[in-house]
Point group: C2
Chain length 467, copies 2
Amino acid sequence: MGLFDGVEPSAPTVKTEVPGPKSKEQIADLDKVFDTRAVNMLTDYKASIGNYIADPDGNVLLDVYAQIASIPVGYNNPYLKEAMKSDEVVDSLINRPALGNFPSTNWASILRSGLLKVAPKGLNQVFTALAGSDANELAYKAAFIWKRQQQRGGYNVDFTEEELLSSMNNQSPGASELSILSFKTAFHGRLFGSLSTTRSKPIHKLDIPAFDWPQATFPLLKYPLEEHVEENRKAEQDALAEVEHLIKTWHLPPAAVIVEPIQSEGGDNHASPEFFRGLRELTKKHDVLLIVDEVQTGVGATGKFWAHEHWNLTTPPDLVTFSKKAQTAGYYFGNTELRPNKAYRQFNTWMGDPTRALLFRAIIEEIEKNDLVSKTARVGDYLYGKLEALATKYPGQFLNLRGKGQGTFIAFDNPKRDEFVKKAKSFGVNIGGSGASAVRLRPMLTFEEKHADILIDALERIVKSFA
Amino acid sequence: MGLFDGVEPSAPTVKTEVPGPKSKEQIADLDKVFDTRAVNMLTDYKASIGNYIADPDGNVLLDVYAQIASIPVGYNNPYLKEAMKSDEVVDSLINRPALGNFPSTNWASILRSGLLKVAPKGLNQVFTALAGSDANELAYKAAFIWKRQQQRGGYNVDFTEEELLSSMNNQSPGASELSILSFKTAFHGRLFGSLSTTRSKPIHKLDIPAFDWPQATFPLLKYPLEEHVEENRKAEQDALAEVEHLIKTWHLPPAAVIVEPIQSEGGDNHASPEFFRGLRELTKKHDVLLIVDEVQTGVGATGKFWAHEHWNLTTPPDLVTFSKKAQTAGYYFGNTELRPNKAYRQFNTWMGDPTRALLFRAIIEEIEKNDLVSKTARVGDYLYGKLEALATKYPGQFLNLRGKGQGTFIAFDNPKRDEFVKKAKSFGVNIGGSGASAVRLRPMLTFEEKHADILIDALERIVKSFA
């Protein structure tokens, strides 16, 4: 039984090219006040339902991009709609608290019944934020503060006069000369600190000042995995050795290593659980924090609630960041020493958003009620099998198929990727790319076998049209 | 006629110390999952109304701090409550768009009927964000991109191969060696770029890596102004000379200067319209952008919708950032060349939040319907007069009274500031500080003469209790 059985269409409707005439007119109008050069599809959200996205020209497409992987349980989900009509939500919208100074009497209960209910194992606290970029930057700040406390001689050692004065001039020792180590082809956001760790594409980074922080090679696995076992193992070992070398030698020592369970924006690059366990060991060994960026991988799409559950770590990551499908953002942590040693060091006016925390709570309830995470694991296996068959049938079209056992978080490369993604709309599917040549599948958690069949059919028609 | 006549209390109720026993118990419980060291007052938002904030112990205080200056039109404002129950709002909450890729069909109309209706004169476009920090950082990015386009030889000149490659390594020329010039004691946020321009207190900055960006002295005016005309003029001329010197000589040349119309967090530091006009001239002369940070000053509290309207500029600022009372954030601009020359350079997943844009629209409607900006100018004058009288009656207690003609955006220094602010609660008022010694008044736009009388009475009782 699908969540939207009987309410969503049984197949896509393609009436015009996308954008069609009405969309074009409205986009031109919007462009007068808002940059529209990145517009993919002007969207009629009222007419969108479940797994289907609609536009003003009457096109209704199966959506496996889902607002850049951020819609969790379908458009116009009726359970969310009811939840968002509650007095609690309206109150939280019109009386937005400065949570650090004036938390609401229900904030503890909102956290416990929502965000903390799904906290990664071993992490029992949360610092809330507004989007993935600032969640990561707040985690970086927590890491810098923690590392400097340690270097200073412990949690309760006070700042020196020199630190206090130099901090105001953006100089060391007050401003620390530390770094965050990230991986090549990683994406962690676009603000100044997060962008310094983002290494996916020049267009994100050009002209923006950046910190001189280190980057390690992310192991670039070869597919099919079973044919490249030794090569891939070596790539991962080399990557770990490079991480260790950079930790030991970089002129601005890393306070933390940040990594995505699957590099998403950067091209759907996977690594093995062994690699991530090795990274956990290395960071432990060198007393550097491990930040797992679950902004895109979190909340079920990989067939586990958090993608790092696939790794079977013996000690949890130090910090796990989230956003997108959670519809709110922040970082989880367990070690109380990651609370800075004084108040107001990790602080801002709003410090998160109770309305969105309530929305995430409703999302969690909807996921649990309908068992959507294990369902996504099952549908992902089904979809992966069908894609394997397509890859065999159309050699050279579904290259480096990846994401086996990772729910619906699946990708493949296509030599004409941009055309592939564009053409998908004419066959009824809204689909995204990642990196230089990947087609990334990011369906919602409400994606069923029947949707997989429609998707597979469309993909086959796209590659046939290339012939 | 006050907006909350008949529904809000006629006076504060003080039942216990703050926090009282119930609050203390609940704060201890919250602390298990959320850092509470900065908690000022656990708040019962359901019981708060209009200008009054309530806690679980039955204390109901006149609130002239207003969630760090971010509540615009009163707690539980009935007009906002109705607006937030609309289908349009519920739809926008449950179907959150990735605005850059999939804008909603009503996005242009939401912008035009809300955000853009109150755009500062000369600025007809907006880039939406989520909070003050990221609004400022996005403005910085726009400035860096613009300046490098100019240095490269124009809007349409493409990147070099060297730029593309070096950007991925966080190195020049791809990562620019430019800066943002800010002022000493300024506050512009706490993410890595914005924090590099924040110079208010070490506690915000300690241990966080920072860019080596320049800071100029903000003119520290002496009060009363009429007794220090020449001295203050000289302080402002010296500050402008320092700005010019830094623009001409700093090793990382500024792409923009950012300034608050009134330095808020940093101590309620004012400067004259002449100073700001001088700054506009200087930035024009040296082809550097002027960013006006209206995060705390915007949306009416100074008796104008935007505080920089007090300056009578002949050419508008290049970018104006906003957040707080707008309940959403972003930057306004006018020059179309501040749209980067290619798509995806200024981009992120959500790029703002239609729900909050709808909330701001309702706030604007409520402000216009009730003429709250000119009312705030009037009540501010009334309040300022009463404070002048208090300052005369209690010498040494209301020092450097400032904000004349700036609506209710008024402050004074007190030698026992921390105790003053703490004690205010026992006399029925919730009040905040800024900088090292300022008491900052930040009432909502619904603050009336009758509230001013209650506030004045409480202030008098506080200083009497010091005797």
